[in-house]
């Protein structure tokens, strides 16, 4: 027994020595952390989103780094599991001393990290894709300490835009199929309430569990009530299965798709020829050059550009952190927190994405001029709860390609929210 215990202790010491070996220190490096789902149910989405974030790190370094130092991102997998995500975030904060964490993807993991790691340790956390309203509630209660931000638009903004576009396209009867998570539930609820107020009818609202072998019966029940279109809320993967089964079951080939499904891979897998009409929404703007810069840089680094949700949001999250550090001439969490709103919003000169954008921002900072970053997702304005508001882009599928066709400004959306109240 004694002997075994000793062996065990030695083994555990070896394992811990292996596991917690810190990154080799380099001269003048600033490290930020990232916790994302690279495996598990959001794994397929997460690997591309992580690439978006890494592209931003590259961009910053090509533009001379942050405060003259190389920017590094320590990327961890949360396996789409809150307990693992929390442990990874805590390692980043305590051992790698990161001042900011980009992540997580699912609201369940982001919230666990926020309440147990970043908020108590006073570390900035920016999620590119967590849309649960609970974050706003928590911020209102002062429990995020102002360290929480997100670059994904809230469900309310998007559902207003979608409801309006659907009505504008003459749709009256729509079935909603949504993934049963904070994102799907929030968006489905908000959409239904606005769509009804605008004179539409939601013929069926069917939730689905992620990771199920088949969704035929969900599709069959959503088809009852003879809808003209389906508002499908989910992610590529399960969402693709639902869409294919919808088409296969003879559902109308008119799709309303949110940002989660703004994905070329999704459209290819479903087959553009089966999508007679697509009305899509996503946070973003067609009127700025940032998105094009992002796309070109992405192609240059990775060889191809898979249009997919939240890659731009992750890119912007990293850019905003880097700009805030540059602006505040520091790398601490408080510098980032206090300067994020100084580099976003609408004041001063616009600065776009890409190497040139970051260089321009650095120059303007030296000259003491104000500017605001216009991200790949469009102009970003963070409110006091860390929520972002920005325009919504309207997209569709043209000749088999996902393409943005129009946009809805913040003013327009606000007007609609006021008109129909909430």
């Amino acid at each position: 027994m004694q002997k075994h215990l000793k062996k065990t202790l030695v083994a555990s010491a070896v394992i811990s020595a292996l596991s917690f070996a810190p990154m080799a220190a380099q001269a003048c490096t600033t490290t930020i952390g990232s916790v994302m789902a690279l495996t598990g149910s959001l794994g397929a989405l997460g690997q591309s989103i992580a690439k978006g974030a890494e592209l931003a790190v590259d961009t910053v370094n090509k533009a001379g780094g942050v405060n003259g130092c190389t920017l590094k991102m320590n990327l961890r997998d949360d396996q789409t599991n809150p307990a693992v995500g929390v442990a990874a975030a805590k390692q980043l904060v305590d051992i790698n001393h990161v001042p900011a964490i980009v992540g997580a993807l699912s609201s369940g993991v982001s919230m666990a990290i926020l309440t147990s790691v970043t908020a108590p340790s006073h570390v900035v956390q920016i999620s590119p894709s967590s849309t649960s309203p609970s974050f706003t509630e928590l911020a209102k209660e002062g429990k995020t300490g102002g360290y929480w931000f997100r670059t994904a638009p809230s469900d309310a903004l998007q559902s207003v835009a979608m409801a309006k576009e659907a009505r504008a396209n003459g749709l009256k009867r729509v079935a909603v199929i949504y993934v049963k998570n904070p994102y799907g539930e929030g968006l489905a609820g908000e959409f239904s309430s606005y769509f009804k107020k605008m004179g539409g009818e939601v013929t069926a609202s069917v939730p689905y569990n992620p990771n199920q072998p088949s969704y035929r019966s969900e599709v069959s029940s959503a088809l009852q009530g003879d809808p003209q279109a389906v508002f499908l809320i989910g992610y590529p993967g399960d969402g693709t299965t639902v869409a294919r089964e919808w088409i296969s079951a003879g559902g109308p080939q008119v799709f309303l798709l949110p940002d989660g499904l703004e994905s070329q891979k999704f459209v290819n897998d479903v087959g553009p020829r089966y999508m007679k009409k697509v009305i899509g929404t996503a946070g973003g703007s067609v009127k700025t050059p940032s998105l094009t810069i992002f796309k070109n840089d992405f192609k240059a680094k990775y060889g191809n550009y898979p249009t997919q949700a939240y890659m731009t949001n992750a890119y912007d999250a990293v850019m905003v952190i880097a700009l805030a550090m540059e602006k505040g001439h520091g790398t601490s969490a408080n510098v980032i927190k206090d300067n994020i709103r100084q580099v976003t919003g609408m004041a001063g000169e616009p600065v776009y994405a890409g190497v040139k954008g970051f260089e321009k921002a650095a120059r303007l900072i030296k000259e003491g001029k104000t500017f605001h970053y216009v991200g790949a997702t469009g102009p970003l304005t963070f409110d006091k709860y860390g929520d972002v508001s920005g325009p919504m882009a309207i997209w569709t599928v043209k000749n088999g390609k996902v393409e943005q066709t129009g946009m809805m400004s913040v003013k327009e959306i606000d007007a609609i929210i006021k008109k129909y109240g909430h």
Binding site: N209, N211, P213
Partner: protein
Amino acid sequence: MFGQYLADGIILGSTLALGAIGLTLTYNILNFANFAHGSLLTWGAYFAWIIVVAFGGVQGATFGPLSFGWPLVVALLFTAVMTSILAIIVDWLVFRILRKTNIQVSLVIASFGASLLLRNLVVVIFGPEPQYYSENIQIAREIFPGVRVTPDQIFVVCLSIILVILLHLFMTRTKLGKAMRATADNTSLAQVTGININNIVRWTWIVGASLAAVAGVFFGLTVQILPEMGFNLLLFLFAAAILGGVGSIYGAILGGMVIGIAADLSVLFISPAYKPAVAFTLMILVLLIRPSGILGEKTR
């Protein structure tokens, strides 16, 4: 709607049945719940996908109204062989050694470790995105009033039936099949009568893995190919195998059908969000009435 849900259930049920047969065989003859069985389905689907892609997709000549042609048939044979080899390798490296220790639970946990490894190997090699054998989606046709199915779905159900009949003949008419059944019933007795147990173990894996591979291909054909697909199906497979009675091939078929149909029909009564719970509730209810499953033999 009843007819449509029933048809949906039968289609899922026939895939589940094939997967459950393999599970029930390994469960019974090797005597442990193999959590890596789902990974065999996944690998089966991907092995076939390699062949289909090598042939330039299944777009070429297709069989009548079906979405695929010869490449998929070749792929089915190829994947059966490859998945069997994979299963035998895993058995040789891990399970064979653990069997000697006589600790059943170590086998179960090791199989879970193997399933983690195999599943993520797929992610590393093939990527995390879903894949498809064909980009064409078949539009379902009405075969009965209110019941719409696709030609591929009918093919899957028919081929499942044929495979089950072949398996029945194999188990009852061939020497090997009889030896496998004898081993499942009583290992020590089978050994005394001169049956080569190692050979039986090998064939158990071959039959189980081949059926899993075919089930994986069927699933890929009617739904999609995904690294997580086997794992997502696994609990349903277990429910099917146990509902039918572990060790009983016919029980596994029945269990697969019952689970598939019940889950889909439940949508008539409760929210589809609870669909997986229906399968398990049903399984537990059946076990309460018949503790060894519908067609299982009393082992206790």
